[in-house]
Amino acid sequence: MFLASLLGLSRLQFALTAMFHWIFVPLTIGLGIIIAIMETYYVRTGNEFWKRTTKFWMKIFAINFAIGVATGIILEFQFGTNWSNYSWFVGDIFGAPLAIEGIFAFFLETTFFAIMFFGWNKVSKNVHLLSTWLVAIGTILSALWILVANAWMQYPVGMEFNPDTARNEMVDFWAVALSPVALNKFIHTVSNCFVHGGVVVVGISSWYLLRKREEEFARKSIRIAAVFGLISLVVLIWSGDGSAYHVAKKQPMKLAAMEGLYISKPGTPIVAFGILNPNKTIARLESDSLGYALEKPYLFNISIPQGLSLLVDRKLNTFVPGIEDIIQGGYTYVDELGNEKVALPVRERMKRGKIAIDALALYHKAKDASDEEGKALALGELKENFSHFGYGFIEKPTDIVPNVPLTFYAFRIMVILGGFFIAFLGLAIYLERRALLSRNRWFLYLSIVSIPLVYICTQAGWIVAEVGRQPWTIQDLLTTGASVSGVSTSSVATTTIMFFVLFSVLLAAELAILFKVIKKGPSA
């Protein structure tokens, strides 16, 4: 069973940690700005009401921040402990954003966090306000650098393979830091965090309105959070559209999995809603290809004709390849540089990947034997086939297909909930402006339900990005299988269980504390 293997467990552990970390980070980032806005009101008006409001949300922020810090360090360590091959093979590029994150973002956050929480009586109002903004900016900057690193894994640019050190090396820092995927990912993720913070604040505030407590506090919190959330949502949708474009260019298999698209046609439709046929699986493609071919991809679907072509290329007739198309190859596509190319079958890429890997070994043998001619020959072969390097580690063509149902449904959950939040936040603004919130108790209940929904939406987005890119740690260059450390399976199993227990306890404690703080309210 895959999950019991070293790779399966290592992936499970990383997914567990990343998703657990991702429970807390969006609220920290979103709430940080909302708090800073509230404190700005306080400093500008001198009204103690805003100070009290700021301080209440700061309590929530602090509880959430602590657990975010605790889980963040685990991810950093795990790159080394569980993915040591990866750490060397691309550490030259990947390590830099991590170090920059520490120097620029973490110190900013944690240093001014101290003033934010302990400095009310020790610094002036303006210095305190500045500190709160710097913490908020620090959280955003840390998101920037880790997303630069993540985007590079999905869209490797600004690097060259060094045959002497047998690893990838950075040759253009700005290409890495400012790659269109990095910028898009950053905007998409941070605006998602803002929406997340906005929805949580609206939800918690609504609880007070339901209880007829702290009504001014709740209404004004809703006003700020809903407006902030809705503006961010517009940016979120715009950047989501950009994401689709980049995914289509660099990660066509991820896009095909997101759509449950097996065999495509020019003018590819997009599935607005659908239920996948559970009998059409990649495993069946290997074991029973005839039976597989007879199955339809969806049990039910509502599709928008030519929607996918339009989304990824702004043209009605573009061919967006499906899973089988990518495996078989042979279709034409336009690469990032605008050149028209014919896609190679995965089998061919696997062959060329193995040639590249063998050429690297030959290069070193020739180097050891001081055979200059052999070195040049091997190097030429390596360079020619390097773009397929990662395929050399693939055992069979279907291994490049990620988990289709997970990616497909996660994508739909994310988009549908995103659509829901437009209506929800719009309505929150309308009802608050018309002073109708307290009279519409159904909306207040809906607001509370929206809190778990926004967590589901945020997690779903992460699943699309990370499950959808499997089996690659570095797109086309390194598989997760070739990235994993040489530790024993039992060690990783043990630490995974330990993390699971630890996370469960921490989450339970966090929630219990949060509920108490909310119950006590801002007057406590």
Binding site: I73, F77, I93, S485
Partner: protein, 380 residues
């Protein structure tokens, strides 16, 4: 240029490591829980005084990890992926610390205040010892094999792995590593006590800290002397910059100090400052003892870490095959990356500047139980 950058980055990573040991006064302070801080008032005040600083230590640890990943990725890969259980133990001990300050005093914290205090105590005691053990491996090496060309073996592309099933726990059993761990713990505890003396306004606690410093401070100094004796009589491994061949050299670290001289000067200055700090705490009010000893610890640790890799020394020796040991030359990032990171490092003084500004703003006066009970204070 690459040669310079490799050394520059080792210098910076070592400095971060040295600052980390200084900032682990927070851990040292945590180890005083259940010891000199017994009743709730004492514990709460101690935890709050340390709680204003814990994130700085934590961030330094994270940045140390990030910096070593960026500058010497092969070390990150080999040590973390090999000494798996050692690093995992350190990780768990720091994760439980990160939530404990915030959650300890909160209603509904599920586990009760005592559990979180125990987490802080464990982090203070074992976290420092195990970090010391990990630092010790810079001198004693590890049971690993490393071959960059393994990446061409499709069936098993793992570049490095530990050769025994202990996955790094074996490092704790190496006497030098353990001694290093204990000395790091004693340094942290000494600094924690000096921080209490400097920062806390509660007579009962300060009095006990002054008594404790006699024991801990003296133990730290004696432990440190023993550590230096072990280090200077140890065999180290020299690497040839021309062909990368590694060979044993008796008294290598002593020679590194003597041949380079400036680390020796740093070490001596560091020792003097440490002694001055402890001495002023023992015989005077000890107002500046914390920074004196802290500065001394930074200089001493920095000089020792420099000697681990400078002067053509292998800084992570493979005890299985010394030719597979890690050196500044075979484990660093590329010249380009080190250069980019060197530009980034120019911002470090700016970061240090605002850290010092905030530190000073928040610790102008001693902390009392009244301070943390003020309506505007965020109490842990």
């Amino acid at each position: 240029m690459l040669y310079f950058l490799q050394h520059y980055w080792w210098l910076l990573v070592s400095l971060l490591g040295a600052i980390l040991v200084f900032l682990m006064f927070v851990q040292g302070g945590q180890s005083l829980l259940f010891g000199i801080a017994k009743n709730n008032d004492e514990k709460t005040l101690l935890i709050n005084a340390l709680g204003h600083k814990w994130e700085l230590t934590f961030t330094t640890l994270v940045t140390f990890g990030g910096a070593i990943f960026a500058s010497f990725p092969l070390y990150y890969s080999t040590s973390f992926g090999g000494a798996y259980w050692l690093w995992m133990a350190i990780l768990f001990l720091f994760v439980i610390q990160a939530v404990s300050f915030e959650y300890r005093g909160k209603a509904g914290n599920l586990l009760g205040a005592k559990s979180y205090e125990t987490f802080l105590f464990l982090n203070g005691l074992l976290g420092t010892i195990l970090i010391g053990v990990a630092v010790g491996t810079f001198f004693t090496g590890g049971s690993f094999v490393m071959n960059k060309m393994s990446i061409t073996n499709i069936a098993n592309p793992v570049i490095s792995h530990w050769t025994n099933g202990w996955h790094g726990l074996d490092a704790i059993a190496v006497p030098f590593n353990l001694l290093m761990g204990i000395v790091v713990y004693l340094a942290a505890r000494t600094l924690g006590l000096l921080y209490v003396i400097k920062q806390i306004d509660l007579d009962s606690l300060v009095k006990k800290a002054k008594v404790q410093i006699k024991v801990t401070g003296v133990a730290f100094v004696l432990g440190f002397v023993a550590l230096l004796a072990a280090l200077f009589t140890m065999t180290g491994y020299s690497v040839s910059p021309e062909n990368g061949l590694i060979s044993p050299v008796r008294y290598k670290y002593f020679f590194n100090m003597v041949e380079l001289i400036w680390p020796a000067i740093m070490l001596v200055t560091g020792v003097v400052l440490v002694l001055a700090g402890i001495g002023t705490a023992l015989f005077f009010k000890g107002k500046n003892s914390f920074f004196l000893t802290g500065g001394g610890v930074v200089l001493a640790v920095w000089s020792i870490l420099i000697c681990a890799a400078f002067n053509n020394t292998a800084f992570f020796v493979s005890n299985i095959d010394i030719q597979q040991s890690l050196t500044l030359y075979n484990s660093s990032s590329s010249e380009f990356t080190l250069k980019v990171m060197a530009y980034v490092s120019l911002f470090i003084p700016f970061v240090l500047g605002y850290v010092i500004f905030v530190w000073r703003s928040l610790t102008k006066t001693k902390m009392s139980n009244e301070d943390i009970s003020l309506p505007d204070s965020h109490k842990y």
